[in-house]
């Protein structure tokens, strides 16, 4: 077991890669009464075309399957896994993103019992025709719930505008139609390919004794047999840098229009330190150009062009990335122009100085330190970082050495006007 001490953060991380390939991390936190455990596979909604383990032909599975699988792992022959967690006082949950599926619990008691339930339920799939069919009604309601959320439609509409082929443009849960095609056989095929321990990370953070916990996990894993680790062959369609659709609108029953500008990133074949620098730099650029102290924000807020719903965000994964800036607004066209102009002006005349960078760097360092109070944040983010070859605890040292040049490079990955698109949700006309 490796022990890595981060002096500036006063944290010590324990790590071991087990013989079956599972990567285990343990971070004890003093003073905490809860322990938070995540068990995550590097498998998300974008992994839809691949060569199943033990086969030679590529397959494409129905949309929404990773998320469907996540739901179905909770049901076993002897009932619902939530029941077992509940008896032990653990609050359990799971989520599926574009690139990951995570299973997790937090508990203040019976840590080992709960850890065993987590490891065992994820590693013992049980899918039948009956249980798969039953889930379709539940997931159909989940999809319908999202369909009625204007902010989700705005987010996904923008992604659909940006991408021609990449499966990031497919809704994580699929559609009510696509999930009808999912069978138990599909689930076993995806499970067999993506749930091998060598494609997974276990993260334990909070009130935990690292040595005892590591021994416990090892014992659990040693009692099971797994196939040899094998490379996973995924396939993604090629994607050009320009956007697919420059402008689209959707009518919903809302009171005020919502506008979102998507800016597609042209440099996504990155990992490790390079990715960390690009990601942090892009975040800082958005902060400086659109944050609460920016000339853009001040003018737009004073004019009533944006309101408290205004937000911006940067997303980067291997194979896709984008920045988004948006708000509820009564003047969608004007806001669209103002955001694009801010980007255009920054391309023409670079506005970011060392002084500006130093100020926002401090802000980001503080933000990161604050988030280290949250075991949930640490476990989820650490895993995402690890899957991209990055270390969460490198954030502060990396921020400290960022230069204005780094920010300029990052800006240029999403500044080109041919990579910008707008999506608007506007109030539907009331039919009387």
């Amino acid at each position: 077991m490796k022990k890595i001490h981060f002096e500036n953060l006063q944290e010590t991380l324990y790590n071991e890669k087990l013989s079956n390939g599972l990567d285990v991390y343990i971070l004890p936190k003093r003073g905490f009464s809860k322990t938070f455990v995540t068990f995550t596979t590097k498998y998300g909604s974008i992994d839809r075309t691949f060569i199943p383990r033990g086969q030679t032909e590529e397959v494409t599975v129905p949309d929404g399957i990773a998320h469907f699988l996540e739901h179905k792992l909770f049901e076993k022959e002897d009932g619902d896994v939530f029941q077992k967690f509940s008896v032990n006082g653990a609050a359990a949950n799971a989520y599926t993103s574009f690139t990951r599926t995570a299973y997790l619990f937090s508990a203040t008691d019976k840590l080992y019992d709960n850890t065993e339930i987590l490891l065992d339920f994820v590693q013992e799939p049980y899918f039948t025709k009956k249980t798969v069919e039953k889930e379709k009604g539940i997931i159909a309601q989940e999809i319908t719930m999202y369909d009625d959320q204007p902010d989700w439609r705005l987010y996904f509409g923008t992604i659909e505008n940006m991408f021609h082929e990449h499966p990031v443009k497919i809704d994580i849960a699929g559609t009510v139609e696509t999930i009808q095609d999912i069978t138990a056989e599909h689930l076993y095929e995806c499970y067999g390919t993506f749930y091998h321990p060598s494609n997974m990370v276990l993260f334990v953070v909070g009130a935990v004794d690292p040595k005892e916990m590591m021994a416990f996990i090892k014992k659990n894993q040693d009692s099971k047999t797994f196939e040899e680790p094998a490379d996973i062959i995924r396939s993604f369609p090629s994607e050009v840098n320009t956007i697919a659709i420059s402008k689209r609108t959707l009518a919903m029953d809302i009171t005020k229009p919502k506008v979102n500008i998507g800016m597609k990133c042209n440099k996504t074949d990155v990992e490790g330190e390079e990715m960390l620098i690009q990601e942090l730099s892009s975040g800082l650029v958005l902060d400086i150009l659109f944050g609460r102290t920016s000339p853009f924000y001040t003018a737009a807020y004073n004019e009533g062009l944006i309101d408290e719903s205004f937000s911006y965000d940067f997303t980067l994964e291997q194979g896709f990335g984008f920045a988004m800036v948006g708000s509820d607004t009564d003047q969608p066209e004007k806001l669209d122009i103002a955001i694009r102009k801010t980007m255009h002006d920054a391309s023409e005349s670079w506005p970011i100085t060392d002084v500006e960078l130093d100020r926002r760097r401090k802000k980001k360092i503080g933000q990161f330190m604050r988030s280290l109070n949250s075991p949930d944040f640490i476990a989820n983010q650490f895993t995402r970082f690890a899957f991209n070859g990055m270390n969460l605890f490198d954030v502060v040292p990396t921020l400290e050495k960022l230069t204005v040049e780094n920010l300029k490079d990052a800006f240029q990955t999403f500044s080109d006007e041919s990579s910008h698109t707008v999506f608007t949700v506007h109030p539907a006309e009331k039919v009387q």
Partner: protein, 424 residues
């Protein structure tokens, strides 16, 4: 869990030294009786005070300063609880120990002092432009509830269930009251709040308690005030069994948002309060609950189906996202779960699971500084010496008979459905 220091009559400091967190958290809370007109003024005031102050006269200057203090978070918000309206000034900064340079903590306290005591006044008044801008923001915040279908359905259900009552009074006030606000009225609200509200100040972090108490005493020099007792809970008990009202409203949407309103005489200050928390947990509070297991897992009718206990108002809600055509079936399934509880159909397992998860919930809440502040602030009204164990021991003692008795004290009053369905 907090050390209590009475600074002045009606002004109390609650302080807690803990090395659990890498930050220091502050919350200053002004509490007053809930009144819709006052709520409107206090909400706009909160926005205006967090925008700028006498020292940093524009939002840009002020936010730049906060960013330089390692991204210190400082914001104001408003909330309601029972009959009380609460304006809070919250701040969180990184503990100096983790930073390359010291002195952040002192600067943050002095910034808070500026926010509270040195408002950004021009010729003795709040700047008209800022006031108008923030009036607009708050009005838009109120209006935007319509766009969030689940929140809107809940709001409508409460308005129908308890019109003109604190539970359906908007925390942010009404649009027309906000519209009518002037700079003068806002200043009067500010002065009144500072002079007359009950004030609770919270500090959690790795701090020197004695030093901090002295600092707060000298920098937050509030005058003493007589605090008028406000009722902890506001409930409207229906004495005669009423006929259940069915209301259906239409929006262009796909899912049906089903919201049921129940009333109960067991409220936050009732001796059986903790028994009712357990009953709610078994009914629909968790993933092992009757609602989740039957409406979602057995019938596959919903992605979410849960109950929540609004103890300060003596109410309980059930919400579910369903196919609107199946409303009648869903309502009868929900009623069947409550009936099962009333008939004592409760297993040892359900009781055990619910107690374990309630205990986990309260202990987990205490793993964040904000959780410690908010939970304690609520429960200290019942018990000055409140700890997580107060509740955990209380829940432990609850029996199946208790749960059955509690379920019999829950009465359905309204079934509300928001959907795209045409009403018949």
């Amino acid at each position: 869990m907090f050390k209590k220091v009475e600074l002045q009559q009606g002004v109390t400091l609650y302080i807690r030294k803990s090395d659990q967190f890498k930050t220091v958290n502050f919350s200053v809370k002004w509490k007053s009786t809930l009144d819709e007109k006052k709520a409107a003024a206090r909400t706009v005031l909160a926005n205006v005070l967090q925008d700028s102050n006498g020292k940093y006269q524009t939002e840009t200057e002020f936010r730049n300063k906060l960013d330089e203090l390692y991204g210190t978070v400082l914001y104001m918000d408003v909330a309601k609880r029972g009959d009380t309206h609460i304006v809070s000034l919250n701040a969180e900064c990184v503990n100096d120990e983790y930073l390359a340079e010291g002195g952040v903590l002192d600067e943050v306290i002095s910034l808070m002092q500026s926010v509270i005591f040195e408002p950004n006044l021009v010729d003795g008044q709040f700047d008209e432009a800022i006031v108008n801008r923030e009036k607009r923001s708050v009005k838009e915040r109120i209006r935007s509830v319509y766009d969030d279908k689940a929140r809107y359905a809940q709001k409508r259900m409460l308005e129908l269930l308890r019109p003109d009552s604190p539970v359906s009074t908007s925390t942010y006030g009404k649009e027309e009251d906000i519209e009518a606000l002037t700079s003068e009225a806002l200043l009067a609200t500010y002065e009144n709040m500072l002079r007359e509200d009950e004030i609770d100040i919270y500090i959690v972090g790795d701090i020197d308690e004695d030093v901090m108490v002295e600092k707060v005493k000298s920098l937050f020099a509030f005058n003493g005030r007589t605090v008028h007792a406000r009722p902890t809970v506001r409930q409207t008990v229906t004495e005669q069994p009423v006929e259940v009202r069915h209301v259906m409203e239409k929006q262009e949407m796909k899912q049906g948002k089903l919201h049921l309103g129940f009333s109960t005489p067991i409220a936050f200050d009732h001796p059986d309060y903790m028994k009712m928390q357990v009953a709610n947990g078994i009914f629909g509070g968790f993933a092992h609950s009757k609602l989740f297991m039957n409406v979602r897992e057995k019938e596959s009718m919903a992605y979410y189906a849960s109950s929540s206990y609004s103890s300060h108002y003596g109410l309980l809600y059930v919400t579910a996202g369903i196919d609107a055509e199946l409303e009648e079936k869903a309502v009868s399934l929900i009623n069947a779960q409550l009936l099962a509880l009333q008939q004592g159909d409760i297993t040892d397992l359900e009781l055990e699971q619910t107690k374990a998860l309630l205990a986990n919930g309260i202990k987990s809440a205490f793993d964040s500084a904000r959780g410690q502040i908010e939970v304690f602030d609520q429960y200290k009204e019942l018990d000055e010496h409140f700890t997580a164990d107060t509740l955990i021991f209380g829940w432990e003692a609850v029996t199946k008979k208790d749960v059955q008795a509690m379920a019999s004290e829950i009465m359905l009053e309204i079934v509300y459905l928001l959907s795209g369905r045409e009403s018949k």
